[in-house]
Amino acid sequence: MLKIMSVSKKFKSGDSFVNAVDNISLEVADGTFAAIVGKSGSGKTTLLSLLGALDRPTSGQILVDDRDICRLGDRKLIDYRRNKIGFVFQGYNLVPNLTAIENVMLPMEFAGLKKTERKKRAARLLKEVGITEEKFNRKPTRLSGGEQQRVAIARALSNKPSLILADEPTGNLDSATGKVIVKLLENLAKTENTTIVAVTHDESISKDAKQTFRLRDGKLVSTSS
């Protein structure tokens, strides 16, 4: 269960402060595919970085599996990002000089898994997201955008996280590939019982999502499910 309670995040802008996220509270059940939508500057990416413990809120609580991640020390935050969270970025953000399988193995290496186990699991995940074996050893530049995003999703899943945070996962893809990726995320949420929170402009994603949260000027203006 992901529970956000009265979370705010202020940024200093010149002499004044801007409320990027303003007193937001919401809940997402385990295994749910949820979407956060809103225009540019509405605060959705800031909210996503707070959920991923990439940043700390100015006030409020974020409970993941009943643990307040806002109170974690630096070392525990790293453990949280390693083991509880998987990130999918708009620009894929694969490490360019590593192959597809090495990119998927990377978070497992940080988590301390043995190499043989890392390789085995990475191969399984790549197959699950639809990457064929002959592409395992290709570097990102030799994969299409859709393939890169599939590798990124496999990487996000590598440490069996309970929460996957996707920032505009279809933003760099054509609509057909985008639909395939959304379907993939939706299936993962069901089959792996993983909570997926996707930030998007794409209304088609919000239609497929089980829950949709709409933000405007840092405030949660509507929730639909």
């Binding site: 970085s49 990439l54 290496e109």
Partner: protein, 463 residues
Amino acid sequence: MGTIKRGFLNAFRNSIRTISIVFILAVSISMALVMLMSLKTVQAKIDNVKSSIGNIVTVSPAGVRGFEGGGELLTDQKASDISAIPNVASVTKTLSDRLRKNGSTIPTGGPQSQNNTIANNTTNLDSSISPGSFGNRQRANENGGSTSLGTFSVPIMLTGVSDLSSVTGLSSLGISKFDILSGNKIDSNSSDNLAMIGTALAAKNNLSVGSTFLAYGQTITVTGIFDAGSEFANATIVMPIKTVQNLSGQAGAINTVIVEVNSIDNVSAVQTAIKDKLGSTVDVSSQQDASNQAIAPLQNIKNISFYSLVGALVAGSIIIFLTMVMIVRERRREIGVLKAIGASNFIIATQFTVESLVLTLISSVVGMILGLALSNPILSVLVNNAVSSNQTTAGGGTGRQLLRLGAGFGNSAGNALRNLHTNVGAEIILYGLGAAVLVAILGSAIPAFIISKIRPAEVLRSE
């Protein structure tokens, strides 16, 4: 793939950049190595020159030059005064004379008809050294240009010594070794008519241990035959000083005091103290001044090498630092992603440090090869510049005189400069690798700090 392997492979991520960095860094490292090698080579030469010059001070009557007169002979009192000076390790008194062959003519500066024979300092020995064309010319000059020189033969040098425990007392003969070939050393405190003779003189006169010869009209017994390493020294006679004083009728007279100083560093101080104590009645000389002059160009090279070494190391550190800052800035997003997927600052900093180390070590190997190739040519340029600079400073010609002067005392400055060659040993290679590791770590320290400050949230914002 582990962090170290990733760091290693990252060093080759951009081949053009890697080659450029390796080349620039290699030049810097090669310069550092060349300067280190020059520094060590020059320092070794300075030590060598200093040790070859030794710690000897010679005190002689003021104005004296060989046997041509000048000044009053020294006394036991003056020798005692010298021994009391701080840092004087030992004092050896010598009295020298020249023995002429019975019947040998001696020029007087007038016509040949005025040649006389010497009655007292005569011997029945033949010198093992022939006058040669040089000696005959000198005699002719002294004899008003006449080429008829009668029965002239080269005088035999006789030295009375107060201490024969080392070769120090015989340094006025230019002796650097004193090997006893047969018989024994004489007791230098004795006043008996005993002598040691050089091997060439012994051979010339068929003398062996126990043989006798005449000097000053008295019979002298040979107790030992020595080899002193040169034809000149092997043509001489060594006796106890008291015997020479008695035979020559110069009781208590000393013509040279050889002072051994406890350290090379104290030679100047002792020289000054002797001058202060005995004033203008003596000439005090050592090779310290010559050594200082000789070492001056070497010191210049040493200073240039040291500052260039520091400069090259600093330049190397700056190059690797700027390179790593550039790489870290370029991979800011990647660092953010690595953090977002669970990498700690330590893992990322280690990865970048390994990358920096790989670049630096490759540069070191290339730098060492370059350094080996360039060390002797660069040292040669430094030597030439240092000598030219010395010549200019000394007002023309002094540099050459300096080289000639240096050539006079064994491992001379001139030879020292001409023969300077760098040597590469394991020590230099270890220094080089150590410096490379140091440069890599120093160059990575601030980039590592920058890495720790990169916030993964920036990755999301920059999308």
